[in-house]
Amino acid sequence: MTREEAVEKAKKVRFVILDIHGVLTDNTLYYTQEGVKSEAFSLHDRLGVTALVEAGIGVSFLTSKISRADEQMGKIYGIPPERLWGSSAKIGRLDEFEKESGFKDEEICYVGDEMIDLGIMGRVGFSAAPADGSWEARGKADHVTAAGGGRGVVRELAQFILEAQGRWEGFVAQFK
């Protein structure tokens, strides 16, 4: 896939579905001495989500199970609770979403990093993987970000999509 081909696919994107572990996080699970699990997210990605949402592109989380950390990050990123999807049947969840929203495969972008994501990555119009995603996920993806998981993947991807659609400058203008 050339960059030009990826740009063509990104032009059609109207909705972005994000895997969490290894995409929004740096792949590391931190356990406290009491056994409580925590993860590291990137605040760069908050800007990425904001840019997409302001451009009218919806964003959702899709992971096997939504944790309280994911709910908290959803709040911080500005993703409504009904868009935090917990399902290990990712393609089934995609079907359900397309049915209720009317979006088609080619209007959807999915970002994933592991083999479990391959099926849904093959379905959607535009798929992306982080720089440190698994070999299979990077091989399948239409676009691989320069950023690794938890290091601004969504920030970078939002720019890629909005630049493809000629809308990035408009988003940046409000900060100048």
Binding site: N27, Y30, T32, S88, G92, D117, G119
Partner: protein
């Protein structure tokens, strides 16, 4: 460095693995211990290593967490998360535990793989059929290893070696296909 190993012979050894054992700190973690100003500790585990575990168990290879340096039970927290708590052993002697597990399974050392990084891993690694060192293991461990991962401990070494084993067995592509279809369930 002692990283150059004979890949073909490592693959031959990997093919025979039916029990895969590993250390915790420095293998599943980066050997860092994060301690806040109140004295609360935390330990970082690599998320994708869990997929490595799943890949082996789904392909009938048994896993063993051999933990000799547990501080807060952190290795058990991780094993429990992966529903592998039955495969977690907090022990003093890794070789003795391996022998016990081998007896139960009716296998010998040639069917045992081991991933390690520290001095305490040298004894089991010298015995097993397929000994593996992490990219950042100490030189003494790399010297006795049949293979050295490209990933460092706590940064995907376990995920990498699980893939190596299944590839050597010719099972990887089938497994990838199976997982790709999992999204439909």
């Amino acid at each position: 460095m002692l990283c150059e190993k004979d890949i073909a012979s490592a693959q031959e050894r990997a093919k025979k693995v039916r029990l895969f054992a590993h250390d915790i700190h420095g293998v599943l973690t980066t050997n860092n211990l994060f301690c806040d100003v109140e004295g609360n500790k935390r330990y970082g585990f690599w998320h994708m290593d869990g997929f490595g575990d799943l890949s082996l168990t789904a392909n009938d290879i048994k896993i063993a967490y051999l933990d000799t340096t547990s501080i807060d039970g952190e290795g058990l927290f991780r094993a429990r998360e992966l529903k592998l708590d039955k495969c977690y052993y907090s022990i003093a002697d890794k070789t003795a535990k391996l022998q016990e597990l081998m007896g139960e399974m009716g296998i010998d050392y040639s069917a045992v793989g081991y991933l390690g990084c520290e001095l305490s891993d040298i004894a089991p690694m010298k015995k097993v059929g397929f000994g593996v060192a992490t990219a950042d293991a100490i030189d003494e461990v790399k010297a006795v290893a049949h293979y050295v991962t490209n990933c460092a401990g706590g940064k995907g070494a376990m995920r990498e070696i699980c893939e190596f084993i299944l590839r050597a067995m010719g099972k990887w592509d089938g497994w990838v296909e199976k997982v790709t279809r999992m999204g439909y369930k």
